[in-house]
Structures are given as structure tokens and as C-alpha cells.
Symmetry: C2
Subunit: 414 residues, 2 copies
């Protein structure tokens, strides 16, 4: 099917899914969970084709691992569908209803965005995750998964569409672009007439390519060059704990710490303790000159290090002489993700919260908490590092918009 036709079908389906009852949406999600489990064998079989092709192409071990479906992973996908079913439905709520001087009642009703396009890499589990979040919010989705996962995705989508069909919901509430050519992807990114939002999910390269090419509005979910700043009044034990956690608890994630800023007055007390602790995980330290003096083992940090998202057991360390210098450095090099201060000073805490420009700004806590589940949203479609529409962890609410509804009794404008 051509891309334009898919857009048309999606738009038509969106008019019908926008106002499905919550009960029906939840039933579809729970049915789909059961059907995925029942089809585990088939899914693993289809996935085997993908893995063979990918191995012939010689993809990396990491990518191959992400591509692989196992019984366990399929159970995880089913569990994800059920979890989304258990969340509150955000659609159709009315808020801020106010009476105007002319007696008009004006309020905001949450509604779906409409048609959401998602472009992602060869990770078949994303297919059911994205469907669940979009469908629960009354949206229709058009998915473009990595070409290496095409057989797996086709099989998963077929099952999800069967769950829609058996509940009387238009199957075009979920469509997969099977044409994995560049031209098809390009056409997809220009489908403004039918697609309301495009979300790229994947590495920095994929995201940059989509932002550059797409004419549809895009939400960037992104990279994290996160800092912890230890000010001169910090509790040292707390600082070491937070840095150890933010840096090493999971290194490959966007909310991990990549850089440490430390006030010069406390560097001599903090750094030796910290180095001792970070040795447990063999963290490489890249330090400026002033910091290096207090470390037994470090390499000199270069300008490039300040802007780097290592996603590895590496930490850059910079000394500063004031809160302002720390904030300026962060606002210059950060990626708008998560930033933390460790302090006991009230005024410093408030200033840091106010002045740092990032999606999530912490006092005395690890940056690792920036996550839809940790924030209590019950789900997450990504972490937005841009400022429009949604910032930070995006839960179901981020997939909704609103319309104004107005109750009148004959008002005309004079």
C-alpha cells in the first residue's frame, strides 16, 4: 500500500478511535496481551528470520541482542499492554471551565492528538509498547520500524490488528509501513496532511535525521549530558552516594551522570573519597587541572569532554569557584535533560532550581529518577529534551491535546 493511502486510512480510523469507551480500549489491550503470549512460538520463528538476515549483514552483538525476541521478552510485551490497560484514561476530561462576563462557559477538554507516526530502530518490543500508549489515548499510530526487524514487526502488528478487529475497532488504528526503502520513509516524514506528530525513538543519529527531514511536527526524545554539582556546603557522604548512583547504576541511559562539577573549596575533601568509591566500578576520571591535584589517577579533560555523553564508565570533572559558574557551565553544555545540585544551603538550592535550563532539575537526589515510572506516570513514551508541547518524561498525557468547548445560550459578538 502506498504511504499516502495509509495516511488517509489512519485519518479515517482516528475519527472513530477518538471517542472509544475506556472499557473497550482496555479490553483490546488485554486481549492483545493474551494473543501475543499465545503466539510466542510463531513470533520467535519470524524473529529467527530477521536475526539470520541481520547476522548475514554482520550487525553488532548489541543490535542483534535488541532485535532478539525470547519467551521472556514476549511476556514483557504482554505485561506492558496490561499495565497500560490499568492506567487512567486521560481522554475526555474537562478542566478550567470558566464563566465569562457574557455567560459563555468556556473549558478545555482533553482529546487525542490524532495520528501519531513513530520511527524506530530494530527493536520489536517497541512495536507493542508504542501501540499500547497511542491506542489508550485514542490515537491512531503508523509505525516505521527498523528494516532488520520487518518480519517480527509484521507478525506482531498482525496480532495487534486481530485484537482490534475482534473488538469491532478499525484495524487501521495501527498500521506498519512495510516498505523499508528510504523513499517511503521520506514520504512518511512529509505526510503533514494526515499525521499530527512524529516521534523518533532511537539513537542520536536517527533523531537528528528525522528532525532535519520531517515537515510534520517532531518531538525529540533524547540524549542526556547530565551534571551533578557539589557545592561548598554539601554533605560529602550524600554527594558521593548520589554521584556513584547517577554515574554507575546504569551507564547506557540518558539520565546517567556524565560530568561532575565541584566547588573549589570542597574539591580537596570530596574528590579523594569519590575516587575511592568509583574505583569499585573502574570509572575513568577526566579532570581539569585543579581537580587532578586531588586525584591519584586521572586523565586531563579536554574541551570536547564537557559536551560528551559517554554512556560509559567515564566521568568528566570540573572545578568551579561559584554557583554561577556551575550554572553557566551547565546551561552551556547540557542537552536539556537532567541536572542536580548537592547542597545544604537553602539559597543555593533555590537558585539552582530557578536558573538551570533543563527538563528536570534536582536538589539532593540522583539524576537517574528522570523517568515516567519514577515520576508516577505509570508509562513512558520517551523523555523530551525539547521545550514545545512536552518536556521531560512523557506519559499518556503527552499524547493528548485539548479543544475548547463552549456552552452558550445564543451569544453573538458585538
Amino acid at each position: 500500500m502506498n504511504i499516502e493511502e495509509m495516511g488517509k486510512r489512519a485519518k479515517a480510523a482516528a475519527a472513530l478511535t477518538a471517542n472509544l469507551s475506556t472499557d473497550l480500549k482496555n479490553k483490546v489491550l488485554r486481549d492483545a496481551a493474551g494473543m501475543l503470549l499465545a503466539a510466542s512460538g510463531d513470533l520467535i520463528h519470524e524473529n529467527q528470520h530477521d536475526r539470520e538476515h541481520a547476522q548475514e549483514k554482520g550487525i553488532s552483538e548489541g543490535l542483534l541482542d535488541r532485535l532478539t525476541l525470547t519467551d521472556d521478552r514476549i511476556r514483557g510485551m504482554a505485561e506492558g499492554l496490561r499495565q497500560v490497560a490499568s492506567l487512567d484514561d486521560p481522554i475526555g476530561n474537562v478542566s478550567e471551565m470558566k464563566r465569562r462576563p457574557n455567560d459563555l462557559l468556556i473549558g478545555k477538554m482533553t482529546v487525542p492528538l490524532g495520528v501519531i507516526g513513530v520511527i524506530y530502530e530494530a527493536r520489536p518490543n517497541v512495536t507493542s509498547d508504542v501501540f499500547a500508549l497511542c491506542f489508550k489515548t485514542g490515537n491512531v499510530s503508523i509505525l516505521k520500524g527498523g528494516s532488520d526487524a520487518i518480519n517480527s514487526n509484521r507478525a506482531i502488528v498482525a496480532i495487534l490488528r486481530r485484537a482490534l478487529k475482534q473488538n469491532g475497532v478499525p484495524v487501521d488504528a495501527l498500521q506498519l509501513i512495510e516498505d523499508t526503502s528510504r523513499e517511503a520513509t521520506r514520504e512518511f516524514m512529509h505526510l503533514n496532511r494526515y499525521v499530527d506528530l512524529l516521534i523518533p525513538r532511537g539513537g542520536a543519529g536517527l533523531i537528528a535525521a528525522v528532525v532535519k527531514e520531517a515537515t510534520i511536527p517532531v518531538i525529540e526524545t533524547g540524549t542526556g549530558n547530565c551534571h551533578v554539582y557539589v557545592d561548598e556546603t554539601a554533605d560529602l557522604g550524600m554527594a558521593v552516594n548520589i554521584i556513584f548512583n547517577a554515574k554507575t547504576q546504569r551507564i547506557g541511559v540518558c539520565n546517567a551522570e556524565e560530568s561532575l562539577l565541584v566547588h573549589r573549596d570542597i574539591a580537596g575533601q570530596l574528590l579523594p573519597k569519590l575516587e575511592e568509591k568509583l574505583k569499585e566500578k573502574k570509572v575513568e576520571l577526566r579532570a581539569d587541572e585543579a581537580a587532578a591535584k586531588f586525584l591519584t589517577n586521572s586523565v586531563p579533560a579536554t574541551e570536547e569532554d564537557w559536551g560528551k555523553e559517554y554512556l560509559d564508565y567515564i566521568l568528566s570533572i570540573k572545578t568551579v569557584t561559584s554557583l554561577k559558574e556551575a550554572v553557566d557551565h551547565i546551561n552551556r553544555y547540557n542537552t536539556g535533560h537532567s541536572e542536580a545540585i548537592v547542597t545544604t544551603n537553602y539559597e543555593h538550592a533555590q537558585q539552582f532550581l530557578r536558573d538551570v535550563d533543563a527538563a528536570a532539575v534536582y536538589v539532593n537526589a540522583s539524576t537517574r529518577f528522570t523517568d515516567g515510572f519514577e515520576f508516577g506516570f505509570g508509562a513512558e513514551i520517551g523523555i523530551s529534551t525539547q521545550k514545545l508541547h512536552a518536556r521531560g518524561p512523557m506519559g499518556l498525557d503527552a499524547l493528548t491535546t485539548y479543544k475548547y468547548i463552549i456552552y452558550g445560550n445564543g451569544q453573538i459578538r458585538s
Copy 2:
């Protein structure tokens, strides 16, 4: 100055304007108002140059009128600045602060978007309007006005920057792109590194061009193909009043009615009365066959009419046999702006509110109320017809975003 350098300066200024006190921001706006009034003579003189060049080029009367500055219009600009000064400052408010199970306190703080680019046509009054809204919300603005107004804009911006300077605010909080070449505009639309949001203000052509070219996120403010649907239970007098108001109170605006839908069962009663009333304004009626039977003077409507924004004394009229047919027609042809039903039936009213996909959906009121002032926002930067970030009339809130602020006491993630 080159565009890239302007972006850099804007970004640097934005870090400083983000947290200005409300009192200082208001003082700048009030000072600027006084300074514009004091400089009326100079402004009109500069504007005269623009008008002469424009006349040599042979621009239309309408465009020339929009380009023209008079004492009255300058008073209007000053009044606009003072009005924005009198509005509540939306920046720095914290909402939804919740305690998580691990004792983290997580809330949302409103913050400026950062750097806002605005591309508009040759209307010098927009220059001060946009500055006021952006500055009040702590944002920095880069303006690209129509080349025909360059002398006027340069003079206005010089005054506004003086108001900034005398209050110790970085003058780069407002910058005007003086290079009116296509290349400069193109470069501006790709300044993702420095500009957070681009708002095109002007006709459909300008907006479409910006959406197509820009890689910066764009908010479309737009066109309105607005409908009024009169259902079979409507109060006829109310229906005639609302249609007369929505169609003729001001024809050149995006919230004016362009198309009437009428239930077949009431067409015979409504249309003769309506035709009589619309004669007062010599409104041309373009009707489908069923409607034409009840009209003494109409031309046949074509397919093209259903999608047309006339901005003129023309109304298309279509009969329908059900609420569903009306809603389907609206959702097919509307531009996501404003839609109204006239009815006395409770269930029809609720269904219409729920099922119509538009920024503002009315029961028993004129579509002409879709406006930031009528909605009680006290200001308006445009009416968004898209779904991301802001929908409908955009007041000061639409120029803000939020960050999560998190108060901890040493929490780490396990």
C-alpha cells in the same frame, strides 16, 4: 550582523531575561510605551520612506494600509504595551507538586520557551505587539518583518531596545533581522541551535512556506473555514442571529463563518428567514440543490466551495440529514479552527462537542468568540490551528513551557 551571530546573542540574552522580576519587565514595557509615543513624529517619518518605496513597487491598497503608521496607530501600539504590562506574569509558578513514595517532591515550574522567532508581513504594529508578549514571558525574540516595512521596523526596534537598555536589560532581548534577503530568511528558519520556536504571522502563503522550510518547531496560526450547523430542533431566531453575526460582523477574520449546514427537516423554515436577514449585507449564497429550493436567490455550490475560506460576503449552504452527516462534513473540510451547533437537544449538543475536531467547538454561540481577549487571556499572539503545544487562542501561557523541579534529601535509584 550574520544570522548565526544573532542566534548566539539571543541565546545569551535569554539566560538573563528568563528570571527578570515582574516589576522590572513591566517597567520596561511601560517605558517603551512612553518612548514610542514621544517618537511618533520620527516613526511616521521613517514609515513615509517605506510607503514611498512600496508605492513605487505598486503594492495593493490593502497592503499599503497595513503598512501605514499614524498617530492613532502608534497610540494603539503604546496601549498594547501597557496592557501586556498589566497582565499577570505567568513565569515561575509551580504546580502539581506531589510527594513520591521515596519522599521526592516533584512539581512543574513554568519557564520561558527561550528564543522565539517571528516571521511576519509588512505591518509595523506587529513589531511592538510581539515584543511585548515575548518579553513579558521572559522570552527573547528575533523578528523578521516584511521587507516593505524595514525602515519602520528598524525605528521601532531601536526605541524598544533603548527601553531595555535604560533598565539594564540586555538589548539583545529583541533583535531585528535587517537583511531582508531570501538567504537570510532561510538561514533563520534553520537556526535550531539557538531558536526554540518559530511563529509565522500572516497569510496562508507565508505560513505554508515557513512550515515547509523551517527545521525549528513551528506553531501554525491560521486559516479558518468555520461552520455553523443548525439542527432540526434549533430555535430559529437564535440560529438566524448567530449566523448573521458569525458571517457578517467582520468578514476578513479567521473566526468568521464560511459555511452553513442545516438539517433538511428545518431548512424550509430557516432558509427564507435567513436569506431575508443576510440581504442586509448583500451576502451571496452558494447552496446545494436541496437548500436552493428554499432560496429565491442563490448560485449552485461546487465541491470547491466546501473547502473555501471566502473572507468575503459569501456563504456556502449544505443540507444534511443527520448530526453525524454534519459532523463528518465538518471534520472533512474544516481547518481546525471554530465550529458551532445551534440546537435545543441536549444529546446533540454533547455529541457535537465531543465529536467535532477543532480548536473551539460551540453550542448556541457565534464562532466569532474564538479570540484571546474574548476567552479572557488579556492578550493573543495568534490562534493555533494545530494540535501540538497550544491549540486555539494563544495567550501568554502559550509562550511558556515548564521544567520539573525536584526536592530530595539524598535519594538514589535502586
